[in-house]
């Protein structure tokens, strides 16, 4: 409980300092657009972000600009995904596993066809990739880093070698969906509900949730 009180005081003191940032993030999320927005440049540490907000930082204006290239690509991907999904029969709210699987594979096929020439770096752009790696390094290099790494690796029941990563392929059925700790989610750019971050081994995966397709990945994203 002492820890919690300290943290509360900390947030109480810092709320003024981060108020503007929080307001900016809230304003962005209130826009109601499905397309992720380019994150604003901020010097705030993720550790001090409001608990329900994802904040990308600390970022220089150059880093923010680099990440903006990724969020633009994310937006394009989500637009494509949404367009394809809308063309398909809607999954009932009380579906059988077979219906879920059929729907997923049908969407997977269409997404793969629509992105037939997709390659690594299409979404995690060359500009954004070093920023992502640096952000992850800050998380895994922090006081909880070792524990976070153990948590991710421990619950990955298949050896990393079991999956050869290929962009625009189905997420391997033999590889469990691993933990993505809140600290990581808080640090990386926010995604829409169609996408999520996962890890396979030490690689960061951008997973199309509905299609179960690897949209992009960064190898060796978790620092040793």
């Amino acid at each position: 409980m002492t820890h919690q009180h300290n943290q509360t005081r900390f947030f109480g003191v810092s709320i003024g300092a981060f108020g503007l940032i929080a307001a900016a993030v809230l304003a962005l999320s209130a826009c109601g657009s499905d397309k992720p927005k380019a994150p604003p440049a901020t010097s705030a540490s993720p550790a001090t972000a409001p608990p329900t907000e994802r904040v990308v930082g600390p970022l220089s204006p150059a880093d923010a600009q680099a990440l903006a290239t990724m969020t633009a690509r994310l937006g394009e991907y989500v637009d494509l995904h949404t367009k394809i999904e809308r063309s398909m029969p809607k999954l009932p709210k009380e579906a059988t596993p077979a219906q879920i699987d059929k729907n997923q594979r049908a969407l997977e096929k269409l997404v793969r066809e629509a992105r037939a020439t997709a390659k690594p770096g299409d979404i995690f752009t060359p500009e954004a990739r070093p920023v992502i790696e640096r952000l992850l390094a800050s998380v895994f290099g922090g006081p909880d880093g070792k524990q976070l790494r153990i948590s991710i690796m421990d619950e990955s029941q298949a050896p990393p070698s079991a999956a050869k990563l290929v962009v625009n392929s189905r997420y391997p059925d033999t590889v469990p969906l691993t933990t993505v700790p809140p600290q990581v989610l808080q640090t990386l750019p926010k995604l829409t509900e169609d996408l999520e971050y996962r890890f396979i081994g030490d690689s960061l995966i951008l997973l199309d949730v509905h299609a179960h397709v690897v949209a992009d990945f960064i190898e060796h994203a978790i620092p040793k």
Partner: protein
């Protein structure tokens, strides 16, 4: 001296065998529960401390279960055995409903087959999603999520449950929770989700950021009970701000000895075997039993609902 040494050796061997037996996991791997469960002999009826009154609301709690391994099936058998005597009508799941692959056959081997007896008895499962769950599970009819990642339902006139998606506690969800809790005038408000606000888990422990986001709402709106998983054991937390917290991440996965007893949070912990929780609401009281895979009642108690006037 030699006799003492031999005794020590035998003690060590016995202890080692006991640890291997309780851990059990290594023997499970690769074996489907359907075949092995037949060989498992659940013990005779274990004593329940629950009132088991006619007309009361009865439910169970299960978390971190969908492994498809032998032990999951054995606990499922135990749940079915208890349900025959204690007619709970629903099970809330606190996430990690399916581990590993989540193909149609996995829904069968990790959910539909082990809990067939319960499903056949008309017991409904209401799921929340954990960090290992595919979001598409929300469409699975047996999980009764109505296609939503977070939702609320009212199984009894004075009881309301709130299921959260604790992996992504986005502002929209917190806003939704605020609104739903404020609108509920039910005597019992019970919230369930995956990541625990309080846990003595050496592996994961308390999720402080989530706590900061939702605990003020729980306190403000008279939430009485919070159910979570994620850490693979059973733990009843000492009441926090008047709220009863349970970690029930012991439905299939198990992390033996993972409760950090020095956390100061534990009212009762059980981390040597799988367990689920059975509960009964009678008026202002909620009675609960935590029951192990072998049918032992490893914890029990009664909670009085919160009733703080604004």
């Amino acid at each position: 001296m030699g006799v003492i040494m031999r005794m020590r050796n035998w003690s060590l061997i016995a202890l080692l065998l006991l640890l291997i037996w309780t851990a059990g996991g290594r023997w499970d791997s690769g074996i489907t529960g359907a075949t092995v469960a037949q060989a498992f002999q659940a013990p005779a009826e274990s004593p329940l401390t629950l009132p088991n009154q006619d007309g009361s609301f009865k439910f169970a709690v299960l978390g971190d279960f969908g492994t498809g391994a032998q032990r999951q099936y054995q606990l499922a058998d135990q749940m079915a055995a208890v349900q025959k005597r204690f007619k709970y009508e629903l099970v809330v799941t606190v996430g990690d409903n399916l581990y590993g692959s989540q193909r149609p056959q996995d829904f069968q081997s990790k959910f539909e087959i082990p809990y067939k007896a319960l499903l056949d008895a008309g017991v409904k499962f209401y799921a929340s999603l954990g960090n290992h769950d595919a979001r598409e599970q929300r469409y699975y009819k047996q999980f009764n999520m109505d296609g939503k990642l977070y939702y609320t339902f009212k199984p009894k006139s004075n009881v309301r449950f709130f299921a959260l998606d604790s992996t992504y506690p986005e502002p929209e969800q917190i806003k939704w929770l605020d609104k739903e809790l404020a609108a509920s005038n039910d005597d019992w408000k019970i919230v369930f989700f995956h990541h625990p606000l309080y846990s003595s888990g050496d592996r994961h422990g308390s999720d402080l950021r989530l706590r900061e986001a939702v605990e003020p709402l729980f306190v403000k709106y008279n939430v009485s009970v919070v159910l979570s998983g994620h850490d693979h054991f059973y733990e009843r937390i000492k009441p926090q701000m008047g709220i009863a917290y349970f970690v029930v991440g012991s439905g299939g996965q198990l992390r033996v000895g993972n409760i950090d007893r020095s956390s100061g949070l534990t009212a009762k912990g059980f981390d040597t075997d799988l367990a689920f929780m059975a509960a009964e609401i009678v008026g202002d009281q909620m009675y609960f039993d935590a029951i192990s895979r072998l049918g032992k009642t490893v914890d029990s108690g009664v909670i009085t609902r919160r009733n703080i006037k604004p």
